[in-house]
C-alpha cells in the first residue's frame, strides 16, 4: 500500500515546489520541467554535434561552438539583422496575401460546389507540384524583383490554406446547421455563427502548415534568385565553403521558422481552445 501511495506524494510535492518557485527562475524551471524530453533532445543533439565536430576535425563539419562563433561574427557586421529583416518582409507580404486570398477562395469552394469543381484541378496540381519548378518562370516574368520573392512565398503557402479552409467549410457539422436553421437563422448567420467557427480548427491548421511552407518559400526564393535576405547569405557562404557560416545562417532560419510557427500556434490556441480535447481524442 505504502508503495502505491508514494508516486502520488511525489507528484503533489513537486507541484507545491513548482508553485513556490516564482519569478523568472521559477518560470524557466517550470518550462524545463514540463518540456524536459524536448529540452533533453535539443541539448543532447547539440552536445553530440559538438563532440563529433571536435573529434572529427573535419572542415565540413565544424563543432557547434564554431558555428555560434561564426554567427556572432556575422551578427557583429550588422548584416545579419538587415538580411533577416529583408527575409521577414517577403515572408510577411507573401504569407499575408496567401492567407487573405486562400481564405477567400477556400470559403467560396467550400460553399459552392461549382466553384469547387472549377478550381479543384488547379489546387490539386499545385499542391503536389514542387513549387520550385515555377521559379524559372517567375524569374522570367518578374526578373530579380521583390515581386518574385513575394509570389514564391505566396505559392508555397496559398494552396494548403485553400485546401484546409475548403475541407473545414465542406465538412461542417450538418446537425448544427440544421439546429441553427430550426431557430430561424439566415444563410449569412449560418455561415458566420456555425460554419466559420466549426471550420476554424482546420482553417488554423492550414495557416500553421502554410507558415512553415512560407518560410521554405522565403528561403528557396532567396536561394535561387539570390540577391537579398538570408538565402542570399547562404549562397555566398556556401560558395566560399565557409561551412560554419552556412550553418550559422541555417540556425537563424530554423529559429525564424520555429518562432513564426509558434506565433500562429498561439493565435490558434486562443481561437480554437474549445476544440483541444476534440483534437486530442
Amino acid at each position: 500500500m505504502a508503495e502505491s501511495i508514494t508516486p502520488i506524494e511525489k507528484i503533489s510535492k513537486s507541484q507545491t515546489l513548482e508553485q513556490k518557485r516564482t519569478g523568472r527562475a521559477g518560470k524557466i524551471w517550470h518550462f524545463v520541467f514540463r518540456w524536459w524530453p524536448e529540452t533533453a533532445s535539443i541539448l543532447g543533439g547539440i552536445a553530440l554535434w559538438e563532440l563529433i565536430g571536435r573529434l572529427l576535425h573535419f572542415p565540413f563539419f565544424p563543432p557547434f561552438s564554431a558555428v555560434v562563433e561564426a554567427w556572432w561574427q556575422i551578427y557583429l557586421t550588422g548584416e545579419l539583422i538587415s538580411e533577416l529583416l529583408q527575409s521577414l518582409r517577403s515572408l510577411a507580404i507573401g504569407y499575408s496575401l496567401a492567407v487573405v486570398l486562400g481564405l477567400m477562395l477556400g470559403t467560396l469552394m467550400g460553399r459552392f460546389r461549382k466553384v469547387q469543381y472549377f478550381f479543384d484541378p488547379l489546387v490539386d496540381i499545385n499542391l503536389s507540384t514542387p513549387t520550385l519548378v515555377y521559379i524559372p518562370i517567375l524569374f522570367a516574368l518578374f526578373g530579380i524583383s521583390d515581386a518574385t520573392r513575394y509570389i514564391i512565398v505566396f505559392m508555397y503557402a496559398f494552396f494548403i490554406i485553400v485546401v484546409n479552409t475548403l475541407t473545414g467549410i465542406r465538412n461542417v457539422d450538418h446537425s448544427l446547421v440544421e439546429m441553427a436553421r430550426s431557430f430561424g437563422a439566415s444563410e449569412g448567420q449560418i455561415f458566420r455563427r456555425i460554419m466559420l467557427p466549426d471550420a476554424l480548427p482546420l482553417i488554423m491548421t492550414g495557416l500553421r502548415i502554410g507558415m512553415t511552407r512560407a518560410v521554405k518559400g522565403m528561403i528557396n526564393g532567396e536561394l535561387f534568385i539570390a540577391l537579398v535576405g538570408l538565402g542570399a547569405r547562404l549562397r555566398t557562404y556556401s560558395g566560399s565553403f565557409n561551412i560554419a557560416k552556412v550553418l550559422a545562417i541555417l540556425l537563424t532560419i530554423i529559429v525564424v521558422a520555429v518562432v513564426m510557427t509558434a506565433i500562429v500556434q498561439i493565435i490558434d490556441r486562443r481561437l480554437t481552445g474549445w476544440a483541444e480535447t476534440v483534437q486530442d481524442a
Binding site: S175, E178, A180, S182, F183, A185, W274
Partner: protein, 267 residues
Amino acid sequence: MIEISNCTKIYSSHDGSNQVEALDSINLSVKEKEFVALLGPSGCGKTTLLKIVGGLIPWDKGSVTIKGKQVTGPGSDRAVVFQNFALMPWADIKTNIAFGLELQGKSKAEREARAIQLIEAVGLKGFEDRYPRHLSGGMQQRVGLARALAVNPETLLMDEPFGALDAQTRRLMQEDLLRLHEQEPKTVIFVTHGMDEAVRMADRVVLMTARPGRVKEIIEVPFGRPRPKDFDKDPAFIELIDYLWDVLKTMQVLDGTTENETFSKES
C-alpha cells in the same frame, strides 16, 4: 392546432431511380398544449414527420398547418430538441442556451437574463460558463432543452431527445420534463422508440408503421396530469406497454436497412 392531412413524403436518389416512400398519407391533429408521442419501428418516418412540422424539410403531398397557417419553414412558434443535442462546442452554456434569442436579435442583457432563468429551470446552475465538453450527456440535453424553451415556443418538437442517454439519466430527464410540462404546458411532439417512455410522457401515442410510414393507431393514455403517484405500477400502464410491444413486434422488419440508411438517400 397542428393539422397534418394526407401528408406524403418521398425521398429519391439523385437520378430519381431509387425512391423511398418515407411517409404515406399521414393524418394527425394535435391540440394546443397536448403532448403527443410518435412511436414506431426504425424507418417509420417519425423523425421525418417531426422535421416537416418543424419546417426543416419539405413534403410532397397533402398539407401541414399550424393554427390554420401552412408551414413554410421554421418559425419562432416552434423549437426543436435534437437527439444528438446539437450544441455548439465553441460556445459556453450560456451562449448555447441564448442562441435562438441571439438569432432573433435580442439584446445582450435580455439574453443573459433569460439564459440564467432557464439554466435554473433545467437545473444547471453553476455551469453557465462551462463548455459542452465539460458536461455529461444528460446535462448536455438539459442545455438543448433550455435552448428550445428560451425562445418561448408554443410547440416543442423533440426528436428522440433522451435516446442517446443511459437508462438512469433518461428516467431523470423524463421526470424533469414531465414536471416542466405540468408547470407550463406546451404543445409537444415527442419522437421515441421507447414504449414505456411514450406512455409515461404523452397524452396520446401515435403508433406508426414502417415502409411506407403510416399512422397505424392512435392511443389515448389513460392517465391525467399531473400523473398520479406510482402510475407506472398501475396494471393499465403495464397492459398498454404490452399492447404496444405486441403491435410493434410484428412490424420489426429484419431486412438489414436502418432508419439512417433510408434517410441518407435524401442527401
